[in-house]
Each structure stands twice: as structure tokens, then as C-alpha cells.
Amino acid sequence: MEARVVNKGQLPELLDKLAKDYDLIAPVQEETVVLFRKISGAADAFLEYTNSDVSPKGCFLPQNEKTFNYTYTGDSIEINKPEGAQKAVLFGARPCDIKAITTLDPVFEGEKFGDEYYSGKRENTVIIGLSCTKVLSTCFCYAFEGGPCDGTGSDLLFTEIGDKYYVEVNTEKGKALADAYSQIFSSQGAEQLAKDKEELAKKLAGEFVRKVDLTGVKELLDNNFELPYWNGDDQKKCLGCGTCTYVCPTCHCFDIFDYPTGDFTGARLRCWDSCMYPEYTLMAGGHNPRPTRKERVRNRFMHKLKYHLDRYNMVGCVGCGRCVRKCPVNIDITKIINDLKEVAQNA
């Protein structure tokens, strides 16, 4: 695997150049919140964060996506799709969020059905990840085969070491970008930094405080759809808001609807939706297979811990901890996992 070195002092220059040559999406701070936005230069980027409040999945699956405009011309319907994806760079995404994007790939780029809106963005975006330098009490990426310095899914991975960044070049796309800005991506000194990076990874691995053990959980869920556990407190305290699903980097449910702009014109939109809402599974005839919070809460965790694995052989959760931080009533997937493990053991 190839590697490069970038001086920390040269990062603003790199970001400014990238912002000129691409749509550069990076973390920004808006008051107390960190989210990903398109920026026009290094001055807007905010990198002193552990993790953002909303994940960067919006780069590929925007919360609001217009799929086309339509015009009814009397005897036919004219469809106008928006312009294709622009060349973009996503800078500063953490390893957990990048891993999450790879879990979205099989959903939107399946064998039988491809989503051109997602694929277009995915093909045209270079993902430059940024390793973590700190672990929050709510982090648990290690439980899902991830790590604070794991480059899986990134085209380039920056790891801050002293006054330099150690840059792993993970794909051809990444290499092409590093070569294009070779005056900033140096080839010298990478070997020593590689060792420093490993030490950092080891140090961070020891900082996790949440103990999450998935042993037996999948098997338990595979064999038991009905569990008395789901009648417990979680479904009683859940408010049914969409916070967990909207901040989650692996959630991908959406609603498609037409929005008229006149008698004969309009647009079709694809917007994020949440399985925690009661009307999410409401059928046209009035039937709702998930009529109460119990079914919806159970569904959420079954999806994260089982269904996604079943369908795509990939984890459904990356351990970013946002749901744990943001849930108004402290529903905690790590507690649920550990509870289920106990249920499995006592069975």
C-alpha cells in the first residue's frame, strides 16, 4: 500500500485548491453543531471535532433529492432529470462514517437495481478520511470490526501525527488525486510515520469505555422474532421521533413523493424518512404491520443487528455512537446488545 506525507501547515493550501477544482465537502461548525457542507475554502473547514452531529452520508444520499421535474404537455409527460453529479471531494470523514458509506453501497448499487443518483455521486467523489485522535465515551466502532484509524472505504486516509499527516493511498482514485497535487503530497518520510500511526491506533483502541459484546446476539435474533425483551422499557420510553435514524450514518430509508409546482408541472422528490414514525409502514388500505412502538423499536434493532447482515453480508451499525448521544430518552444500542447477549446466554 502506498503512502504519502502532507505537512499540517500545507493543509489549508490543499483545501483551497480542492475547493477550486472540485465541490469540496468538509466539516463545518455552525454555532454548536458540526455538520458537513460544501465549502469554498480552508477557512470554513472545522477539523477540531471528535465526530460530527450529522453524518456525511448526505453527500451520497442527500436528505432532499430531486429525481426529476415533470411537465404534462397534454398528451405526454416530459421528464427532466437534473444534471449529473459533479466532481467532488469529501474531506474529513471519520473511519466509522466511511465504513457506513460502504454499507450503503450494496443497497443502492445492487446487482439487479442501481440507483443512478447515488452511483453518480459515489463515482465522482473522492473520499479523504481523517483518522480519529480521540475516542468518546459513546464510541464503539471496534465492536463492528472498525477502528479509529481504519481506512476501509476511503480513497485516502489522513492521520495526524505531530505536525504532519500520514496519508494512506487506498485506491486508484486516491492515488490520482495525490499525484495531481504532488507538490503537497510528498513521498518522503512515510515509513516512520507508518509506525507512529500504528502506535496511535493501539493507544486509541485502549480508550474505549463502552464494552460491547455481540456474542450470540445474531443467532438469538435469527431464531427468535418474538422476544419478551421487546416488551420492555425501550418501547415504552421511545418517543417515536426520527432523531436516531436521521443522525445514523447507516440508515437509508426514504420517502418518494411528487410535489406539484403548478397544474401541469412538478417534481419528484426522494427525502429521508424514518421507520420510527407510525405512518412509515402505513398501507393504503389502512393496515399497519408495525402498529405500535414495540414493533418499530424491535424493527430498528433487528435491522441494525440482523437484517442488514442477512441481506448484504455487512454490518448494519458502525458504532459511531450518535444515536446514543442524541436519543432524548437514552435508548442505547450498546445496552440492548449486551442485554440480548445475556438473554441468549440464559436461554
Binding site: 430531486k66 421535474n69 417534481a267
Partner: protein
């Protein structure tokens, strides 16, 4: 109350008005609408909460 709330969120004063006019107060209705129309015209196009779909 709604008028105050709208102004608090940034609508120009005068853009939203509420009047109680009974069916038999035709003249009051006319003057109110005329005044309101002039007021709105002087305020120009509304910039808040526009439908921005293209």
C-alpha cells in the same frame, strides 16, 4: 398572537394582518383590502418561506 410571532421570526410588519369583518360591513371590507393591497405593494415581494422548488 400569530402576527407577533410572525414578525418575531422575520416577516415584515404589515405583511400579515387579521381583521374581523362581518358580512354586512361591505365598506369596511373594501377599505381594508385596498389598504392591505397598497401596503403589500409597498413592501415588495415576500422573501420569507418561498417555495423554492425548481
Amino acid at each position: 398572537m400569530l402576527k407577533r410571532l410572525l414578525e418575531y421570526v422575520g416577516f415584515e410588519p404589515g405583511r400579515f394582518q387579521a381583521r374581523w369583518i362581518s358580512g354586512s360591513e361591505g365598506a369596511k371590507f373594501t377599505t381594508t383590502i385596498k389598504d392591505m393591497t397598497e401596503k403589500i405593494k409597498s413592501l415588495g415581494p415576500n422573501k420569507k418561506m418561498r417555495d423554492d422548488i425548481v
